[in-house]
Structures are given as structure tokens and as C-alpha cells.
Symmetry: C2
Subunit: 146 residues, 2 copies
Amino acid sequence: MTNTESSTSIDQDLPLTEQLRTGNLFASPCPSRDVLKHVCSRWGVLILISLRDGTHRFSELRKRIGGVSEKMLAQSLQALEQDGFIERIAYPVVPPHVEYSLTTSGEEIARLVATLADWIEVNMSQITAAQQQHQSRQITTDESSR
Amino acid sequence: MTNTESSTSIDQDLPLTEQLRTGNLFASPCPSRDVLKHVCSRWGVLILISLRDGTHRFSELRKRIGGVSEKMLAQSLQALEQDGFIERIAYPVVPPHVEYSLTTSGEEIARLVATLADWIEVNMSQITAAQQQHQSRQITTDESSR
DNA sequence: GTAAGTACCAACAAAAAGGTAAGTATGGAA
DNA sequence: TTCCATACTTACCTTTTTGTTGGTACTTAC
């Protein structure tokens, strides 16, 4: 028996619809998990943070965000646009000219994401230290078990 | 030409080592991206939030977090433990008894993550509305282009 | 004697994410 | 005339992530 949670995981006191309306992240079929996925995704985070200083074109974002492929950038931008965090303005010219910027709610969530990212960057040395300590604990444990 | 960024994406004014030391999320090989991945991952978020109200056992977390498999829960817990966000205490008894709790830095980052998650849950109706509006715009655009 | 309980791990399979290369449109420059 | 620029899309393939199944260890309860 490996997978018994699907029913027990859901709060017994509330009907499912109520949980979904209020958005219960702990229930598996919750739509807010998808939003979280877009926002917290590898590229979503960087896009949101990049747009905090104003409007940018597709190619600008591409250059600024190290390692994104065109495909992923386009895909991530679309997801964030769908959720209403990003506004896309396309000028009908050749070659194409498209501008991306944060909406009001985009600014709000980008601020939260940036806070999180900043915390990590600031505390990175501490985290690295913890990782190395963990590493060495692993080794000594492995050795003692031989 | 599809992939030209790998050099241009990196801040030209700083040596690579300096960027990595301070943790530049926009440079592709940055270790802070991994931490962000652990923290923002599907299960990482829920684990951190779950542990905010105190110590929990493996099976408790499993029940509380809808949809996690044992494997994923174990894996995510290990990643967060490595980063120093979670403390794991195993009592040498049979059947096994293991307790998980947040470290000090774990509490800090869990607070930020919870803020983000709360914002999404609170604003979920707004987001859903935006999604539907986007959806209908799509349809009318498709129709007019025929 | 055997089933149940806990916190895992390893092996394999499926699914999802991501990368790469090529194509689209069209005006202007070489 | 061929190439370039931009913002994509599509098809195809690789890599990563996730799920599934079956085990382990030992004790207690039935």
C-alpha cells in the first residue's frame, strides 16, 4: 500500500467545492497550485523580478535571463499573462515589436517573489555552509556504518 | 541562431566568481537557483508551510499534504534538510519514529513562502477572473482571424 | 504464524519539462 | 537578390521529474 492519501488528505469538515473556492493548497486538485507553479517556476521567478523595473521587450528579457530558451520564455510569459500578472502589448509592425510589463497584481506578487529571492541570495553563504556540514555528516555516518 | 545568450546573459562588469559568491540569480550556473527550486517546488512549499505550526512526523505530513507520494515527500524533505531549513530527528525504535521541524532559517523562509501562498489564495478569485477573460479574448481573436 | 505498523530505498515506467532546429511574416539594408 | 531583424510556433528529441511496485527492519498484537 503506497498511495492512500487521496481521500484522507482532504479536510473532512468542508465540502470539496468550498475548499476549492477558498483555495486550499493542501487539497490536491486546487487551482492555486497551478498559479504557484507558474509564479515559482524556474523562469517565472526571474521574469517577474526582471519586469519590476519596467517594461521590457521579449529579446531584452531573453538576454537578461541567463539560460532561457525562446520556447520557455514564450511559454512562461504566456502562463503569467493568463494569470493576469503580465500585460502584453504587441505593435503591428515588421519586424514584430512586443512589450511586456507587470499588471497591478503582477507588481504585488513580484514583490513577494523578489523578497523570497533576495532572502535566499542574502543568506546563501549560510545555506552553503549548512549544505557542507550536512555533507560531512553524511560521510562520517557512512564510515561508521562500515 | 537560437541560443546566443549564454555569454551575453552574464553581467560583463563582474567576474563570474564574484557573481556566484553574491549569488546572481540571473546567471545560469547560480547555486541559489537550486535553493529556490527546493523551496518553491510543488511539495517544498507545502512542507514548509505545514511545519510552521510545529514538529510533525513523516506520516502526518503525508496525510496532511494531499497528493504527495512517499518518495516525493522523502526526497523533498531531504533537500530542505540539506539546505538547513529542516531538522530531522530519528528515534532508534521499531517501528521507526522520525520527527521533522523547522530550523531558525527554515522558519524565516517558511514565513516568506507562506506570505506568497496566502496572497495567491486570497487573490485566487481575481486570478480566475483574469484567466477567464483571457480565455474569452482568445476565442474572439481566433474567430476574427478566420 | 502471520499480519500490521513506520520510514524509508531501489528499480523500473510514465509523464512532464526543457532544449534544438527549422519555419513564418515582411520591410529594409547590403 | 539575399540576408537580417523580431517574436514567436511547431516538430522532434533528450533530460528531469514523478509515480509505482516491491522490498527492509523489527516488534507487537492477533
